[in-house]
Subunit: 313 residues, 2 copies
């Protein structure tokens, strides 16, 4: 087998925050994701295709995928190498489903494999975070980490970076519904409170802890009871028309819990079993229609594989 | 076997807060605890014995044990019954080791067994909490719940009360050192901030989540890394002379983590293995001596049994 010349990798969409896990938790879903092909070339170039490709900058210094690749190359002291990057942008932008993270995760995964798996998947996280920085202004890890690693991920600390993968129950499924409004992460962050009453802090920590115990002991009821957010959701729901009704519809359809996916506007719900996730997705879609919003619904098992190589030559 | 006339129960000391679990976590230790005997009698009486008995009110309406028993009797609609309660007060007051909780937990456990185990141990928690209310002014559960149930306990919610027992690793041991100063819970609460910067909230939730994952996956390193408190410890350490040095001594002696036990002044450390706990305890004791403080040190396995019947007749 000769040396590889081109690698195509896929990295899945992700749900960050997960209600009680504001800024510290995320998980990957199987339903959708981006693909990136990295190939040796005479000069650095980025090409963007796919249904949402026209919305993405194709300049090497501005594209999420190439910025992540460049950060990786600089770290491994191979910044002299040049590549062509082709990003198949399957995910809508500003959806709250970790769109930019999928691109940068797939890109670093592909280039790392092309160069002979120089680093472990976990070690790729900081470079994918640089892709996030160029996309949203902050190098957060709660989308790129689950997109690369799969499963449920806890960002225990940023300094130093401490990423923990947490096993989740087999029967846990997810519905994500993306209403057709755009919401910028920066707007969603601006309306947050800078100080939180200590009583709310105690409740938030209790729910975060309860959620982790629920995941690891496969206690679906505890998982659901813990899915409450006092930090972002009370402020952000006003940015999503019909959120309260959609959440209520999800709960009535059997959701364990329901909240904003990332910084929105997508909303997600967890369920026990796939058929329940499908009912929830339809209930949320129907609820958004009542306020005049069309939406796209995804139902999915949790992705436990993370990023992977689709093709190499 | 005839009807019981008298039951003696033991309930263990507890460490609440556990660094990152401010107001939501606690665990029980085997080293020490209170004993309470409840017997049928012609009138309600309380007698207090033991090394710290003289410091405790012996009036039915003011004693932690009898108040808890009375709350229980009222709930099960047996408030017409009368009892003699004898409390063997083995634990120092205001130590931060759940002294009042041990008394009220042992008392309700004893009376419940005397009456034929009317309620489950978990169902006894609200009545033991009433004992806490009379002792400290607030009906908190983070000491009485682990004292009754044993092990690590998470208070997921107060309204409704949602108490989760969390399995802990077999090799987890604890050192608790009680420096001879008194610190009132009310003073320790008064100096807390009422509002917490959101950045600190995110770190606190991340550590709480990490601690739970560490417990359940037996990841001692993760447990230790997660033992950080941004809510109470930064404010309360100034009430405990020599705290910083004592904590440093504990960490140098191999502690996974170290913090204030409850609202202090006792400090606790977790370790892998009993011999390490013993070294830590001596290191803390020695450190307190340097600031002129005598102290009592306890080293212990985690109590997983909770309250139990010592004697019945």
């Amino acid at each position: 087998m000769g040396k590889l010349t081109s690698v195509t990798a896929f990295a899945p969409a992700t749900v960050a925050n997960v209600s009680c896990g504001f800024d510290i938790m995320g998980f990957a879903i199987d339903a959708i994701g981006d693909r990136v092909t990295v190939a040796y070339a005479d000069a650095n170039t980025v090409k963007v295709t796919g249904p949402y490709g026209h919305l993405i900058p194709a300049a090497w210094e501005k594209n999420t995928a190439s910025v992540a690749v460049q950060a990786y190359l600089t770290f491994i002291q191979k910044s002299g190498l040049t590549f062509s990057i082709s990003l198949e942008k399957n995910m809508p932008l500003g959806s709250g489903m970790g769109s930019s993270a999928s691109s940068s995760a797939a890109a670093v995964f592909a280039v790392n494999h092309l160069l002979g798996d120089v680093l472990s998947t976990k070690e790729l996280i900081p470079f994918a975070m640089e892709g996030e920085r160029v996309a949203s202004g902050s190098a957060h890890a709660d989308n790129v980490a689950p997109s690369l690693l799969g499963g449920f991920v806890l960002i225990r600390s940023y300094h130093p970076l401490d990423i923990i993968t947490v096993t989740s129950p087999d029967e846990l499924f997810c519905a994500v519904v993306h209403p057709h409004i755009e919401l910028h992460t920066s707007d969603a962050r601006r309306i947050l409170q800078s100080e939180i009453p200590i009583g709310d802090v105690i409740k938030q920590t209790a729910n975060t802890a309860g959620f982790m115990v629920g995941l690891l002991t496969e206690d679906y009821s505890l998982l659901g009871r813990s899915m409450s957010d006092l930090l972002a959701e009370p402020k952000r729901t006003r940015l999503i028309p019909g959120f309260d009704e959609a959440k209520q519809a999800a709960m009535q359809a059997g959701a364990l819990g329901c909240g904003i996916s990332g910084s929105g506007p997508s909303i997600f719900a967890l369920s026990k079993g796939m058929s329940c996730a499908e009912e929830i997705a339809q209930a949320i879609k129907k609820s958004f229609l009542k306020v005049g919003l069309d939406s796209e619904a995804f139902t999915s098992s949790l992705n436990v594989k993370g990023a992977f190589v689709v093709d190499s030559k």
